[in-house]
Symmetry: C2
Subunit: 75 residues, 2 copies
């Protein structure tokens, strides 16, 4: 079943950061879309759509791989 | 004759920005090295070494192409 979750991510400062996070999350199996509302140097919101529910730990690992920190999940 | 100049660049916020600016300047003919002292969100210093003196306007164009602003040249 399609899923839509939002995550809070810190450490992103520019469009390159957005691209790096979007690419890592977008590479996760099942992900169909990634949208980032960038708050420079603050807590950005990353909305992820997928064709099945994602394990937040996979998203956390992808964000970490890109070099940023996942600080929360909005469900 | 080898040349060594420093430029002031604003708008850079992270390592991705450093990479983008370094790549664009590094692609200029004659450039042999680029070093960036990043001041996040402030005025960063970009030191460029080249095998002949560079026209600052070429450097300005490269910085602009990367998406940032050259605000000064230190010679």
């Amino acid at each position: 079943m399609a899923s839509d979750s939002s995550y809070r991510v810190t450490g992103m400062t520019c469009g390159h950061c957005v691209a790096a996070v979007s690419e890592e999350i977008g590479n996760l199996a099942g992900v169909t879309g990634v949208e980032v509302d960038l708050v420079e140097g603050g807590e950005s919101t990353v909305r992820v759509t997928s064709d099945t529910a994602l394990d937040p730990e996979r998203v956390r690992a992808a964000v970490d791989e890109a070099g940023y920190q996942l600080t929360g999940v909005s469900g």
